[in-house]
């Protein structure tokens, strides 16, 4: 059995107010402990902002700056440049934002930071909706998923953020999930060592927003990966794709069954979503095939 191999040095404190069983808190634990003490965080309004903060207490050992929903990437760029001006070139600046703050409202700021290749580590907690405000849809919400603002299921497909970011040719893009904490720690570790803009998208099955049982988010994340709904991959320089888990051995049904937001789906809708997943999988395979095999 593979054992979990990162070291918890106490960079994330108990007493935060994440829901019981929330894997965004679990991901923060892995990320913050891997990023280490020579770091500063910037957080956009989102569940992670709620988890980190709650004035006058902080759940983070490192300093954290609460910014606006639009500007996580811009604020992180500013903090990094300020540190560099002070000669603190080694300090990692980590931006923490939700999918609303990344795919929608903060996309402009992220795009321009990426275009300038700012030296920041940008973490997107992708829970596929505006969850801390009660569960509205975002452009990351998948087709057919029910949210507060798509009561009959969303009609359009999830935006492909990896491809958007790849088009910016930044040094490192990765996806990871709380289903594999070693994978998460390894990717953060790798990103930390790279200069320039790094983006890691973390799939966060949201207990309340997706309708997952309290102890089920890790399992749901694994099913998302095993069914190919959320492939674990890395993109180097915007060109070279590496698929970390090369098998897709489960139909999406098992994944959908874990969640209330997909409960209403007809057989046809499931087939259509499955086709979308299969098509995405093949596209990634092709990208992997034409990649030069480069890996940092």
């Amino acid at each position: 059995m593979e054992l979990i191999d990162y070291q918890d040095d106490g960079h994330f404190f108990s007493g935060h107010v994440a829901c019981a069983g929330c894997v965004e808190a679990l991901a923060l634990r892995v990320i913050l402990n891997t990023v280490g003490s020579d770091a500063m965080a910037v957080v956009a309004p989102s569940c992670s902002a709620v988890i980190c903060g709650g004035y006058p207490a902080s759940a983070l050992k490192i300093p954290v700056f609460h910014t606006t929903l639009e500007s996580a990437a811009a604020s992180a760029s500013g903090v990094k440049r300020g540190l560099v001006a002070q000669g603190k070139t080694e300090t990692t600046v980590v931006a923490l934002a939700g999918d609303g703050g990344t795919y929608d409202i903060g996309l402009q700021a992220l795009s321009s930071a990426a275009e300038r290749n700012e030296d920041i580590l940008y973490i997107c907690f992708d829970n596929e909706g505006y969850m801390n405000t009660g569960g509205q849809k975002s452009s990351s919400t998948p087709k057919s998923a029910v949210t507060g603002s798509t009561p009959a299921g969303k009609e359009t497909s999830k935006k492909n953020m990896v491809e958007i970011l790849a088009a910016h040719r930044i040094p490192y893009i990765a996806t990871t999930s709380p289903g594999d904490l070693n994978d998460m720690a390894a990717k953060v570790e790798k990103a930390k060592a790279i200069r320039g803009t790094k983006v890691i998208i973390v799939l966060i099955p949201c207990l309340a927003g997706w309708g997952v049982v309290d102890d089920g988010a890790v399992k749901t994340a694994r099913l998302a990966v095993d069914s190919g709904v959320f492939p674990l991959l890395e993109v180097f320089g915007g060109h070279d794709y590496v698929l970390n888990k090369t098998t897709k051995n489960q139909p999406i049904n098992d994944y959908l069954k874990q969640q209330k937001r997909y409960r209403h789906m007809s057989v046809e809708q499931i087939a259509s979503l499955q086709a979308e997943v299969d098509e995405q999988w093949q596209r990634i395979q092709k990208r992997v095939e034409v990649s030069s095999g480069f890996e940092a």
């Binding site: 054992l3 994330f12 007493g15 050992k61």
Partner: protein, 579 residues
């Protein structure tokens, strides 16, 4: 500005850490570490701590694994060869891919102990009480071992000139090498047993004398009388008793006449008789009442017999015999066999018009053994042909205990060993009421649903190699070969360790609330997957009541089913712990 500890956390804006909020008050249920029995343990006739010793093997703690095995069974190398392994039938892993090869691992450890000449810890204190054991088969030897370890004086009376019972005079050496048998028995005798070989207890008067002379007696004389087929004349020179044949074989003596051998029966004894005869170059047919898939012998025995060219005529019986010029003709008929509720019970219907004949030079019935209870008549009560015993294996005569084949229809070596152990506990309690408390795990075994199988990728069972068919019939050397070191390591890694924590730290790392404390840590890490520089592993954990929100993720991500959620009444601040 780099913060290095809690006190300095974000000093510009915040004044404290989130730890001031006791989010544990949200909780309705709380995880609880527990050690629960594994299904294999529940099925094991010696109640072995299988999950524990297999974990020790996977950590390369072989001596420790051997000691854990030796707690319940002084014969791991023997059991690893010939146990019918009901543990494997119960194993949770079969619900994922295939059962764990518990028996082959047991042999691996047992053999290592013999090649390395490992010794048992010295006996701590000597006790004045003395116990006489009658019968040096697995039941008697197991009882002797367990009593001697507890410090009692033990005298062992055996009718034959060598110990082992049916392990020696029944099971042939191609299944159990005699060097292994001798070595595992010798280790017990070396503990200081007062040995009386070639002393047969003749009757109840002799037993009474022992009862007077010793503080307690354990009787384990087996089931020594062969059951007889009414339609067979046992006085004929061409009829040979299988027990006598196998006993002679164990001394290298061949009692067979002619070239065509017919064995009657479908159990281990019948198969062993047939395979031994094949090794003497004979043509062998087995005639059994049961259809092939219901034969009482182990499947592997039947498979190997078929490979070795034994012919099977199943679902049939002999009705009469006729001596002809060239051998004996057996008039047989096909039957419809249906098994009864109890082991050994069955009903048959003769199929009319299905008559057929078989021809043989020697006929060897091997249809089972019964207990000679007449010998003890007047002293010991019998019950359905067996010695009558209570739950603690005490006979109708106070101070005389019995076990093994003579007291049970579970006619297997490890059952005899388990009965011997239980009797030793009972005798110890009888002699020293305040010291011995029988330990029984009453908790329900851990089911497959409690195991998080994500952590166990599909992995095929490591098969033991067999001696090539061509050379098997040349002699009586062992057919089954031991697992390699590498194979044993892989096989041990397949065990889920059901209900026994492996200190994997998964619960610790999957808590989103940092509500689990490692009670102590170990820098020594035996795990083969472990990076040299990795974090130190916990050896025991506790739940922080102040912060556990009761989500259950730790339970869901435990690969071994060692944590359960319990309702939290909220009034206790006690830390639940496991160490």
């Amino acid at each position: 500005m780099v913060a290095t500890d809690k006190q300095q956390a974000s000093p510009l804006w915040t004044t404290t850490t989130s730890e001031v909020r006791l989010t544990g008050t949200w909780r309705e249920a709380k995880p609880d570490y527990h050690v629960a029995p594994s299904p294999c343990h529940g099925a094991c006739p010696v109640q072995g701590d299988i999950a524990s010793w297999i974990q020790q093997v996977s950590r390369s703690e072989y001596y420790g694994a051997w000691l854990t095995l030796m707690e319940n069974n002084p014969f791991p190398a023997i059991a690893g060869r010939i146990c019918h392994h009901p543990c494997e039938t119960a194993c949770n892993r079969q619900q994922l891919d295939e059962t764990v090869g518990i028996c082959s691992l047991e042999r691996f450890v047992g053999d290592m102990a013999l090649t390395q000449s490992w010794a048992l810890p010295a006996i701590k204190q000597d006790d004045d009480c003395s116990v006489a054991i009658v019968g040096g088969g697995p039941a008697g030897l197991s009882c002797a071992y367990q009593l001697r370890r507890r410090g009692f004086k033990v005298a062992l009376y055996e009718a034959r000139d060598q110990l082992g019972g049916l392990m020696r005079y029944g099971i042939p050496s191609y299944r159990l090498d005699r060097a292994i048998l001798d070595a595992e028995i010798e280790r017990i005798i070396d503990l200081g047993i007062d040995l009386h070989l070639e002393v047969e207890l003749q009757d109840q008067a002799a037993l009474k004398r022992l009862h007077k002379e010793y503080d307690a007696v354990y009787l384990a004389t087996g089931a020594s009388q062969s059951k007889n087929l009414p339609m067979l004349d046992y006085q004929q020179p061409w009829v040979l008793d299988s027990a006598a044949f196998l006993a002679a074989m164990s001394h290298g003596q061949n009692m067979l006449l002619g070239e065509r051998i017919l064995v009657i029966g479908g159990g281990s004894a019948a198969i062993d008789t047939a395979r031994s005869a094949r090794r003497l170059g004979k043509a062998v047919t087995i005639l059994a009442l049961e259809p092939e898939h219901l034969l009482p012998a182990q499947t592997i025995e039947v498979t190997e017999a078929l490979e070795e060219g034994v012919e099977f005529v199943c679902g049939a019986m002999m009705q009469s015999t006729q001596v002809k010029d060239k051998g004996v003709q057996l008039h047989c008929v096909k039957v419809d066999f249906s098994a009864g509720a109890e082991r050994g019970e069955f009903a048959i219907d003769v199929l009319t018009g299905s008559e057929f004949n078989l021809v043989a030079d020697t006929v060897i019935p091997a249809i089972g053994q019964q207990v000679d209870m007449d010998r003890w008549a007047g002293l010991l009560a019998a019950d359905q042909g067996l010695a009558q015993t209570d739950q603690g294996w005490q006979t109708s005569c106070r101070g005389i205990f019995a076990g093994g084949d003579m007291a049970s229809m579970d006619r297997f070596v490890t059952h005899a060993v388990g009965m011997g152990k239980q009797a030793a506990q009972a005798i110890s309690h009888y002699l020293r009421p305040h010291t011995e408390v029988a330990q029984v795990k009453t908790e329900k075994p851990v089911g497959f649903e409690a195991i998080n199988s994500y952590y166990y990728p599909i992995s095929k069972r490591q098969k033991q190699k067999q001696t090539e068919l061509e050379t098997r019939l040349d002699g009586f050397s062992e057919v089954q070969q031991a697992l390699s070191d590498h194979g044993a390591m892989i096989e041990a890694g397949r065990c889920f360790s059901c209900g026994t924590c492996t200190y994997c730290d998964n619960c610790f790392y999957h808590c989103p609330d940092m509500a689990i404390t490692k009670l102590a840590t170990s820098e020594i890490d035996g795990s083969p997957n472990r990076a040299q520089s990795g974090p130190s592993r916990g050896i025991g954990y506790s739940i922080k009541s102040d912060y556990c929100k009761g989500c259950g993720l730790c339970v869901a991500e435990c690969p071994t089913g060692s944590i359960i959620m319990r309702e939290d009444t909220g009034c206790s601040t006690k830390q639940e712990s496991c160490s």
